[in-house]
Symmetry: C5
Subunit: 159 residues, 5 copies
């Protein structure tokens, strides 16, 4: 797995049964952005459920802005997610936000360290059929249930 240990952490299972796994990454002046991709060898699709964003103990008392950046080939503007400042709000809750990897976080302002925590929730096995899904029209799990092949295809279309 190619994710550098210094800037993120993953506690995952490679066993046969998928479990939600803890996820985290750290942004700072030295590394302003980070893209999370589900490792190739994982046999299940995953959603990234964000938990919290918080500032490290040695963060300077300045505004830290966290944004989500669209994928390459997408000309739209980044989306600002949270503004933190050590003396005002050092922790922000992002529970409820579900993202489909790949996902790119960027520190728009501030020198960090700013840490993002989340959980990877397994969907279904790559290539598994969608047959049962239409019975739950409000299922939020549609996000991230497409095989990566399908995602790449539609990303192609969007360029």
């Amino acid at each position: 797995m190619s994710i550098p240990e210094a800037t993120n952490s993953l506690t995952f299972s490679e066993g046969d049964l998928p479990l939600p796994v803890l996820w985290g990454c750290e942004l700072s002046a030295a590394r302003r952005s980070y893209t999370f991709r589900v490792p190739e060898e994982w046999q299940y699709e995953h959603k990234l459920l964000l938990c919290t964003v918080c500032l490290g103990a040695n963060a300077r008392d300045e505004c830290h802005l966290l944004e989500l950046v669209p994928e390459d080939g997408d000309s739209r503007a980044p989306v600002l997610l949270a503004t933190l400042k050590p003396s005002v709000t050092p922790t922000v809750s992002l529970f409820g936000m579900e993202l489909s990897p790949p996902v790119t976080f960027r520190l728009r302002a501030g020198s960090g360290p700013l840490c993002i925590s989340g959980q990877l929730k397994p969907g279904k096995e790559a290539g598994e059929g969608e047959a049962e899904q239409p019975r739950h029209p409000r299922s939020p799990s549609r996000q991230g249930t497409r095989s990566r092949k399908e995602q790449e295809r539609s990303t192609e279309k969007m360029k």
Copy 2:
């Protein structure tokens, strides 16, 4: 798509399978209000799930008030959603709020920039039947499940 890039961002898929897509917009003294409409070419109904509201790094230390404005022809008062101030609360969580586009946000006070983030969750295809829905009497997905034609019709009635 006619949404100006400077004030909002959309990461969406035009593929055949609907995915929740990231959404964001920015309000400021230069652009105090913004109306989000589901693009005509999208074949699915969408709900807008709000995530966070936060202030940009250069926002002045004054009160910023975000409100939702009823559609034209609706004489009711706007609804105040959040009050932010850089030195007090630069980020407010709005997770749990689901809106049916079209939705108009307005900066009632403050000069911004104030950024709203959210996700667009696809409902069902426009024109798809409602036959199965009554089986889920507490389904929140009734919001946004009417075809746009039906919405326009009832908006007509309300005038």
Copy 3:
């Protein structure tokens, strides 16, 4: 509809299909309490899902206390919901709170303006049967699913 426009706002549909509708009210020294009742002409039962409480831009820097007041004939004490102060916490999230109208909000302390936002989620048509409900023993939608007639009846009993 008899709700004064100055202190509340409703964006609702009178069409044949129920939609969650935005709701808001404003309390101040001039109007310390407000009771929300589902308008007689609405053919569906509704739950009020609270979203946020926030202070207006010109609120004085004093404690603002929002409470819920029991109905007439109920001798119990009001329930304090949130304490806000412009310089400390100008916005409080109340997502997750579902109430059965009629609901009375009161500003116990502070001179406001204090604004409450929420959404009205339609239940089922007044008079519709309860036959299917017992199959979902944990359904939260039991709140507000009784016809108004039934509610009035049991309110009578409580006096």
Copy 4:
């Protein structure tokens, strides 16, 4: 019903259909702890869903600590739930916490008033069978669905 009006409030229905009911209690130096028990005459089991904790307008600017205390006969330590201070955080959201009465709250530090709000969500009728429940393996409603007799029995075992 023996609950003193000064320190708590309940808006409930004694009718034949259970409704979520508003609940609140107030702790202070004069009354540091409060135990909520479902009244004997209620024919349904109930869960207590916490909403918010907030400080009264005249609370001193000191730390207020709210804890949950295990039942008599349980030797474990109390669990600290929230720390509030008027000048820092006068309101804390506890949405998402579901408790099985009896529940004992205690003000570990601070002189209050500190007010807790919540909702009582009816489960099923006392004595009702559990036959259907195993079909929903993730149902959170297992908490509080045992008849009080069963609870007393297992409490006996724990001593």
Copy 5:
């Protein structure tokens, strides 16, 4: 049960029907980390649902950082969950975070006391089949539903 009473508390039932049980632990300079394991004698799998993190009344006015530490044999970095400071944010909500024990919390910075509250939600009996689960494709309860034996097996694989 070997969990020391001074640093954690558990209100649980040893009866035949699983109930969500309150859970708490306290970290400080004297005890910087704590690992929660489901006691051997419990016949059900459990998920730990976090509620809040808060600082004790006598915590020094310095940054307190709470992190989750991967299990032994997992070389990845810890994940920072929350940053608290008595004068800024003495309580942080972590509702929505579900963890599969064993779980290790560590106080990365600050001298505490820092208290974590949560609830243990029973899954199914150890050894119980997975046969019914596939009918709920979006069930989050997959986490923690494996028997401990299976978990140990896959942990072995990961080393």
